[in-house]
Amino acid sequence: MDNGTGIGARVKRKEDQRFITGKGNYTDDINLPKQTYAYFVRSPHAHATIKKIDTSKASKMPGVVGIFTGDDVAADKIGGLICGWMIHSKDGSPMKAGPHPILAMGKVRYVGDHVAVVVAETKDLAKAAAAAVDVTYDVLPHVVDVAEAMGHKAQVHEVAPDNRVFNWSIGDQAATDAAFKSAAHITKIDLVNNRLIPNAMEPRAAIGAYDTGMDSYTLYTTSQNPHVARLVISAFHGLAPEHKLRVIAPDVGGGFGSKIFIYAEEVVCVWASKRIGGRPIKWTAERTESFLCDAHGRDHVTHAELATDAGGKITGFRVHTKAAMGAYLSTFASCVPTYLYATLLSGQYNIPNIYAEVDAIYTNTAPVDAYRGAGRPEATYVVERIVETAARELKMDPAEFRRKNFVTQFPHQTPVIMCYDAGDYGAALDKALAIADYKGFGGRKAEAAKRGKLRGIGFSAYIEACGIAPSAAIGSLGAGVGLWESAEVRVNPVGTVEILTGSHSHGQGHETTFAQLVSDRLGIDINNVSIVHGDTDKVQFGMGTYGSRSGAVGMTAISKALDKIEAKAKRVAAAVMEASVNDVEFKNGTFTVKGTDKKMAFGEVALSAYVAHKFNSAEIEPGLKESAFHDPSNFVFPAGVHIAEIEIDPDTGVTDVVNYTAVDDFGNIINPMIVEGQVHGGIVQGIGQALTEGCVYDKASGQLLTGSYMDYQMPRAADVPSFKLDFTCTPCPSNPLGMKGCGEAGAIASPAAVMNAVTDAMGLKDVAMPASPQVVWKALQPMKKAAE
């Protein structure tokens, strides 16, 4: 229907009213009666044996309700944190997962590791008592750098003597080597994908409450997937069966992956509440704790080689990556540098032979797991940096080199599992070149040179696989869960609708886009639709929001449930209007009977369904409520071309992004306003990776040097420009809405675009990320000397 709120409309967000008036309801905004406060005692060492934990002084401090350590966890047989994706090494051996107790048992393995928890009447009292917990450590050798960790004398887990979690490979090694043997040209590059700290603006928080009367638990937590949290806490930590555990993720202030995972703190809060007689326990991370303990992202060291023939066609690609896992395997850590990474190494290109090998390696750092893009930014970075480098070496225009190698026939089976279903990469390139005025770049570069600036341009023709994921396929690859999504459509007797979705919104605007779909399909006012999510007691089991899946998977589940609603409503309408169901049509919110002037509004049918006076309830059940579980048949493949144009001030090393163009193919779009917002945010996270953000651990001490906003540079408004966005559209064939995913694209595309521009401006093969002023200035010095 065309009421300005249907599919494709720039509908203003329904959720905004509460956020712009300060009425959002985030976990830390919630306070329960008789609530206590947790503060964690954390390891000051990167690696140490715990000799003794003396709580005698702390336990006598004012306001202390309880102090718990790994001994208490062991006594209650609370299981450790898990990694839910089994990866097997090349030699067939399973990945080496070390123990990860919710409070340390005998050892700490990174600075910030959770050692003990103090529960007290106020946060200040808890913090003061935590400082009085006396832990005696025996410091062990540590290693924080992934490039050095394999075989290092510091052994993070006994189960992995050389610190290697797995040695995994994909593709045909022999065929790829053969392609290199016959190559006309080989391009080689060494790249570091810098470690990032997610930094959702809302710090993680949890409130755990045990109900002594009901013998049940409630956990409020900052989660992107409350059902998965409940499943894991129930099945693996063994706290309580699922029907005795309610997990609520209310308004969540950004996730970017970091709130997918099940963390020690939330499990501790809900477990320890029973230990203190059922008083709720609240924990809210200080930003410093977020830096230390949220799962970090990226941290790859890669060597890549690209083979081309005499005509400039890519014939082979081989990659070796060392991927840091941190000190423990986080919830989905193992799939990030494998199936979310190396399966995208074909990029947008027709590459007949690809072989990649990945060593996942423990380091004495915070765990590394999915962060916006998760594996796909790393893949795009490798592909797009080496393609750009190859074009330069072959003295070909980088745009035309790409075009020459684009996949143009679909479906396209890559040598690394993925089967691309639809796309038009040339169309996006053409559009991007026009918007970015590629032809005029030479003139702009010359003009910049007159001002003493170095100007560069860089491309990133990215592809990603999202809408994760077909359950059977990922199950065969080691996933411990299925990644379908669920929906329930509840039509009320007055014709208003509640959608219960397993997806979770933490900024994506589901309350609006999901309602647009329903409004469009049922022909009802968008204000008569509400979206319910984030509470395991209200919503059926669902898998949550990550991997740009809520549109393609979550909305398809809603769409399927709406199909059922329509079918049922037609039966009711047919009965009431005394017509054959085959003659009932539904359009614009009205049921009509073919060839007659009989009609019923959707609301009338809903009421009839509940009143149930006018049909035989032995044939038609009363009520109007349907549910669906949707398991996708394939990944979806958003792709596009991003072009960055930058200027460097050689006097200071400062890089300014002066123009940025993004042309994306997300298939059909429900709400362009929201999609554009997702792209903007993603681009800036990627610019952050390229130019400003880098997590640094001190090699000597193992301490996190970038542990606050004083040292970790979050992109600010003045660090980035406004963006030029446009879209192309090849509808996705694997879901009825034709949607791909848009949540991660910006962060996947932009680091390579920016760094290709930086290296173009500087005339260098590589510059390390983040290309901070200091890094750029230092890289320029040898060139200056040479020029003198």
Binding site: K12, R13, E15, D16, Q17, R18, F19, I20, T21, G22, K23, G24, N25, Y26, D28, D29, N31, D124, N199, A200, M201, E202, P203, D251, V252, G253, G254, F256, E286, R287, T288, H506, G507, Q508, G509, M673, I674, E676, G677, Q678, H680, G681, G682, I683, V684, Q685, S708, Y709, M710, M714, P715, R716, A717, A718, V720, S722, F723, G746
Partner: protein
């Protein structure tokens, strides 16, 4: 514990505080006005910005006890008589928020910006003036557009 009183969003309030109680703790915990957020511990993110005696300050870097007698406006006090402030309206109109966590501080900072610099603001000025507020979701593009439009409508 000393008692303090102040006017918050036009209403007289009072409460007992410790010396160390931060203004943001008083606002959130004692007054239950949870629209003002805490996003960092080093006075950088700006999620906690409120107006004290008409000027934007970081309420995480202010002692409550020092504000005895002050007039404080939080995000909850911006809409008047059920009508959104033009800056609130502009953030919605221009999709200047996603997760909403930084939004109260952004809006309070934006209103203060207009109070100081007037209603005609160019992009460079807006970006520069937002240096005390961090957003992780929007990439700032739409925040800048929202501030510009909101300023014009104030």
């Amino acid at each position: 514990m000393p008692a303090i009183s102040m006017k918050v969003n036009g209403q007289a309030v009072c409460g007992d505080v410790e010396g160390r109680t931060l203004l943001v703790e008083f606002i959130r915990d004692k007054l239950g006005l949870t629209g003002t957020h805490v996003g960092c511990d080093t006075s950088q993110c700006g999620a906690c910005v409120v107006h004290v005696n008409g000027k934007a300050v970081k309420s995480c870097t202010a002692l409550a006890i020092a504000h005895d007698g002050a007039e404080v406006t939080t995000i909850e006090g911006l809409a008047a008589n059920g009508k959104l402030h033009p800056m609130q309206e502009a953030f919605r109109e221009h999709h200047g928020l996603q997760c909403g966590f930084c939004t109260p501080g952004m809006i309070m900072a934006a209103v203060d910006m207009v109070n100081r610099l007037g209603k005609k603001l160019d992009e460079d000025t807006i970006r520069h003036e937002l240096e005390g507020n961090i957003c992780r979701c929007t990439g700032y593009h739409n925040i800048v557009a929202a501030v510009k439009a909101g300023a014009a409508n104030m």
